[in-house]
Amino acid sequence: MTQVLLVDDDPDFLEITRLVLIHHGIEVLTASNRAQAMSILQQEHPAVILLDVMMTYTLDGMDMVTQIRRLPDFRDTPILVISSLRPSQVAEMLPASALQQIQGWLVKPVRLEELAQKVRALCKE
């Protein structure tokens, strides 16, 4: 079964996404903060990482992207950002290279079918 890691500080969003992806035959690991996520990545090797970029007051999710990319096993793992805000709404906080490090950006509320399709497509890559 394909496994993905979902990182979000909103427990409802974790639950919603988990339900949808499980329905589509995808196993979901969840983490509500950066420390939990990094700890999971020490032991598991998810095929896709889904990440909320604005978990606290700042775009610390983007810092996490950089941190994940430093791990040798996850240099090429697709990362899908899911956020309440569009990239243009946080443009001044996004480093120039940030968008090159991720493979997609979905805006909440996410269309569930689109989410499932996108994750499936990234899993196949």
């Binding site: 969003f13 903060n33 805000l85 909440k108």
Partner: protein, 498 residues
């Protein structure tokens, strides 16, 4: 008179503190004019030698050529000395010091020049020669480059030199050089000549000094005013720059707030919409649907709370008009009454200690209620069942002090400042109570600071927290500083055994 007092007089007349340190451009020019004076003197030396040669042709054998050439040579010699001194002066980096030395040197030159001019005039015919007009040049130079007092002093010096020379000749104490064809023999020894030439000499010199100083003083004042305006403009430009920087900071903070607020308002809406879509798309088995709908309701309530808190936050400044004499103890009593059931539900011991005869504060009652409600509800929310909450209210000479202490999860040192920022919630808080507005403490902080008080927290993870706020009393005049932080209170551990 001291040579240095001139141009500073002008400076001190300008009624501005900042101008005390200003120097008129003329002062800077004094140093530059030194070289110009030396060049002018070389011309004078050459001109004098030519005049002597011409005069010797026109009236051969009349003039004492040796004495005239020797005096001119003396002028050339000291001009050479001045040339070297001026070059050394130019190397002084400090403008003020260079100008001071240059001014002294100009005084020295003017005296020497007047003396040498008198000697030359004596050998060139004394009172008979019309070249006494050259004194005027020196007076004009002194008027432009030095102070008015110096100019009039040099009128006096010139009068003494010239007067002494003509009187000594008049009384036959020194010989008079007679210019053949220019004056009748004995002309110099007539009282009428002495009086008329002397009057013309004094009047010309005095009026030259008066006209030159009045014009130069006006120009100097204008120069100085320009310098002062320039400095003021630079100062204003700096002020505007600083204001602009602060406005940019405020704008940046506003943008960040709107961004975070948008994120925080969208999150519950997104969850509600996604849950609805989840049920409608058949992702949720029937037995879980009630649970999911309950979550939807909770998220809707959370959104309402967040909007309410945002409205409170936006209206904090508007509450100034609603301020009245408020007894913080009465407000506390009502809040505790409201909160006690929630505390009892979690089996928390809620202890309240209010000092008797508490002085009033000048505030909006509703805002004081917000302070107590937010602090006590946080204590209830973040204290595990069976814990303890202690609320105290006391007073100091100029302030009242309220505190809410709990045996809850505590706050890590690195989070203790951030918790007062809008929407900030610690990881531990999120785990203990997943949904919160993240606005309660920023509302409390803004209310307390809006009332001229302060709030702070002392806490350690797992050892509880103590929030303390200080508000100024309304029955005594406010101290110079905003309500003092109670340092002794800070030094106590946040919790017994903590």
């Amino acid at each position: 008179m001291t040579p240095d007092e001139g141009p500073q007089d002008t400076v001190s007349r300008v009624p501005s503190k900042t101008t005390a340190s200003l120097r008129s451009p003329i002062e800077v020019e004094v140093a530059e004019r030194l070289a110009w004076l030396i060049r002018l003197r070389w011309l004078a030396v050459v001109g004098t030698l030519i005049a002597i040669a011409v005069a010797d042709q026109v009236v051969p054998g009349t003039l004492p050529l040796g004495a005239l050439v020797a005096t001119t040579g003396f002028i050339a010699a000291y001009n050479l000395g001045l040339h070297f001194i001026a070059r050394r002066l130019a190397g002084i980096p400090d403008d003020a010091r260079r100008a001071r030395y240059a001014r002294r040197l100009i005084h020295f030159q003017v005296v020497l020049d007047l003396l040498c001019l008198t000697v030359l005039l004596h050998f060139a015919g004394g009172i008979d020669t019309p070249f006494w007009a050259f004194y005027v040049l020196h007076i004009i130079i002194a008027s432009i480059l030095l102070s008015p007092l110096s100019a009039y002093a040099y009128v006096g010096v010139a009068a003494v030199f010239y007067g002494t020379m003509v009187l000594l000749e008049f009384f036959g104490i020194i010989p008079h050089t007679h210019l053949n064809g220019m004056a009748c023999p004995g002309h110099y020894a007539q009282w009428t000549v002495l009086l008329s030439t002397g009057s013309a000499f004094l009047a010309t010199l005095f009026f030259s000094a008066w006209m030159a100083t009045s014009i130069s003083m006006r120009l100097r004042a204008r120069d100085l005013e320009l310098v002062r305006l320039n400095v003021e403009l630079e100062h204003r430009a700096d002020e505007l720059g600083e204001l602009n920087r602060r406005l940019q900071e405020i704008d940046e903070a506003r943008k960040r707030f709107v961004r975070v607020a948008a994120h925080e308002l969208r999150a519950p809406v997104a969850a509600i919409q996604s849950y609805a879509r989840l049920i409608l798309s058949g992702y949720v088995p029937a037995e879980r649907q009630e649970e999911i709908i309950t979550r939807v309701e909770q998220r809707a309530l959370e959104l309402l709370d967040r909007i309410n808190d945002l409205l409170i936050l936006s209206r904090i400044q508007e509450h100034v008009e609603k301020r009245e004499q408020v007894n913080a103890a009465e407000v506390l009593e009502k809040v505790v009454e409201l909160m006690r059931p929630a505390a009892e539900e979690k089996r928390l011991r809620l202890h309240v200690e209010v000092e008797p005869d508490l002085p009033p504060i000048f505030a909006d009652r509703e805002q004081i209620q917000h302070i107590w409600m937010n602090l006590i509800s946080n204590a209830i929310k973040y204290t595990p069942a069976g814990g303890y909450i202690e609320v105290t209210l006391s007073h100091r000479p100029t302030s009242i002090i309220g505190s809410v202490r709990d045996s809850g999860i505590g706050i890590a040192p690195e989070d203790q400042e951030k918790i007062f920022q809008e929407f900030y919630r610690t990881e531990e808080a999120k785990q203990m109570a997943p949904h919160g507005t993240g606005l309660g403490l920023s509302i409390v902080k803004q209310i307390v600071e809006g009332l001229g008080g302060r709030i702070w927290v002392s806490s350690a993870p797992g050892k509880g927290s103590k929030f303390t706020f200080v508000l100024p009393r309304s029955d005594v005049p406010a101290p110079a500083e905003p309500a003092e932080r109670d340092a002794t209170d800070e030094s106590r551990p946040p919790w017994p055994g903590g």
